[in-house]
């Protein structure tokens, strides 16, 4: 319970910091809207030539785009800024202040910075999913919704753990921020169903850089095509990555000596 309160406090501090720059909200909204328009425009061109794309119907791919914005928004809202802050504090030694606080350091580090305006991507993503689903119609039951929520949570844990693992490498290596940028580039591939990609790329996007579980799998749940095996697989990978992230974080903070001390 105290964990949730902690998250809430950090969130509020982040919001207050950003509220000083209100004009940025409109810029961010405009950028997100144009970005979304581009994605949907691309879909319109593609689907003017075909009725289905690798077995996916237009509304299903639109829902996938919604999931892509939702997850990407969540990453840019809190995970990415916090992890970038972590890299900086490992380098300049200010991580000392976090480590001496009487709460779990991984939690503190993971929520230390919130870029509140990125909520626009998050909200637009939800809106797209909602519109796509209403157009998809009646076939959506409680089973699909539950599967979607479950897949989304698993995908969230996977992506979060993956970021923690990458960022924890900064305890051993100096220039990790470049690796983070590469993740951003590769995440772009998640705009489309990974089932389209050739086998080698699909495997890479599933296990090497787990984009598939963050976007394609939740969208498959919405389309009612998610088998319980792949959901179980998602949770197995989520548990594994979460444990690895935790171990790496522990080992890293033990190794960290505080550059300033």
């Amino acid at each position: 319970m105290s964990l949730l309160r902690l998250v809430w406090i950090f969130f509020r501090v982040g919001v207050m910091g950003e509220l000083a720059y209100r004009a940025n909200f409109f810029m961010q909204l405009l950028e997100s809207a144009v970005d979304l328009g581009t994605a949907l425009g691309g879909l319109a061109v593609v689907f003017s030539y075909t009725a289905t794309l690798g077995g996916w119907r237009p509304e299903e791919v639109a829902a996938l785009v919604g999931v892509f914005f939702l997850v990407g928004g969540a990453i840019r809202l809190i995970v990415q800024p916090s992890m970038e802050q972590l890299l900086e504090s490992v380098r300049d030694g200010t991580l000392d202040f976090t480590l001496t606080k009487p709460a779990d350091s991984q939690v503190l580090v993971s929520i230390q910075r919130v870029e509140i305006w990125k909520l626009t991507d998050f909200v637009l993503g939800i809106a797209v999913i909602a519109v796509a689903l209403t157009r998809l119609g009646a076939r959506l039951g409680a089973r699909e919704i539950a599967g979607f929520a479950a897949a989304l949570i698993a995908g969230g844990i996977i992506v979060y753990s993956f970021w923690v693992i990458l960022a924890s490498l900064s305890f051993w290596f100096v220039r990790v921020e470049n690796i983070l940028v590469i993740f951003q580039s590769i995440y772009e591939a998640g705009r489309w169903p990974v089932t389209l990609y050739p086998r080698w790329l699909r495997i890479g996007l599933t296990f090497l850089v787990p984009v598939a579980f963050a976007t394609t799998v939740p969208a498959q749940a919405l389309a009612g095509r998610l088998s319980w095996q792949s959901l179980a697989g998602a949770y197995a990978l989520a548990a594994l990555l979460f444990a690895v992230a935790r171990l790496l974080w522990r080992a890293g903070t033990r190794r960290y000596s505080g550059a300033s001390a």
Binding site: T38, V46, A51, I182, S185
Partner: protein, 267 residues
């Protein structure tokens, strides 16, 4: 008396050395430039298969040829001046460039070419791998291959001049990211990066030909794939030359006006 070629030679040595030091970020941009055409290649191949093997005059191996050539043309023509000038003008570091007795565009040009030379060892193997994986159908007529060289160089020149001019919008506004985004979205559709232009709705094709976008990337690709007649190719080269002249004229005017309003914030 040192000529402009001496300046270029020296600048080239300096930038090359500094880029070799800081190569990581340049390589990351290269990954972006490989991944984007690869994604669209996969998507359009899926469309072609769904439509019974062919879509709008392209089968899967022709899509492969299109996007692999597109990738290489993008490698030759890309610039990042639009991101850079926002920073330079807002932070005032442009002041140093203004103190030098040579127009800053020369430095930018050398920087740009150096970065392309450095990333070529990554780009060419990537192209070779994609050729092996996707088996493109590629047999350009000899005349088209010959005209491809000037078309490619002109495409780079037009893109560089247009983007350099647009980058100067930072003299007047601090919200450059909105300008950049609008431009890059237009470029994504209109310069043929997302799909061959012939697959787009007619009004977008017209816009792509009237604006400089088609001439900055798509035209050399269409030419090398043998999709143009001789007359179309010559007209295209003419359009490129016209845009280059117009661009240079605009660049001169905007640069002069911009430097006058520049107050070096922070200096």
């Amino acid at each position: 008396m040192t000529g402009v070629q001496d300046v270029y030679r020296q600048q080239f040595k300096t930038t090359l050395a500094s880029f070799i030091q800081y190569r990581a970020s340049i390589f990351i941009w290269t990954i972006d430039r490989i991944l984007e055409p690869l994604i669209y290649l996969v998507v359009w191949s899926a469309v072609a298969r769904a439509a019974g093997g062919r879509v709008g005059g392209f089968d899967t191996s022709q899509f492969a040829a299109y996007f692999i050539v597109m990738m290489l043309v993008t490698q030759v023509t890309y610039t990042w001046v639009m991101y850079e000038y926002e920073y330079k003008i807002r932070h005032g570091s442009l002041s140093f460039a203004l103190l030098r007795p040579i127009h800053p565009i020369h430095t930018d040009l050398v920087d740009n070419i150096s970065s392309k030379l450095i990333t070529l060892p990554l780009m060419l193997p990537a192209a070779a791998v994609l050729v092996a994986l996707f088996k493109p159908a590629f047999s350009p007529p000899l005349w088209a291959a010959a005209l491809f060289v000037p078309a490619l160089l002109l495409a780079f020149a037009v893109k560089f001049v247009v983007e350099w001019t647009l980058a100067l919008s930072a003299f007047w506004t601090t919200r450059v990211s909105a300008v950049n985004q609008a431009y890059f979205v237009a470029a994504l559709f209109l310069s043929g990066q997302m799909a061959p232009l012939s697959l787009l709705p007619h009004w977008l094709q017209v816009a792509a030909s009237l604006l400089p976008f088609r001439w900055m990337i798509s035209f050399p690709v269409e030419l090398l794939l043998g999709r143009l007649t001789v007359a179309q190719a010559v007209t295209g080269l003419g359009a490129q030359a016209a845009w280059l002249l117009l661009g240079l004229l605009l660049l001169r005017t905007v640069w002069r006006a911009g430097v006058r309003v520049y107050s070096a914030v922070g200096a």
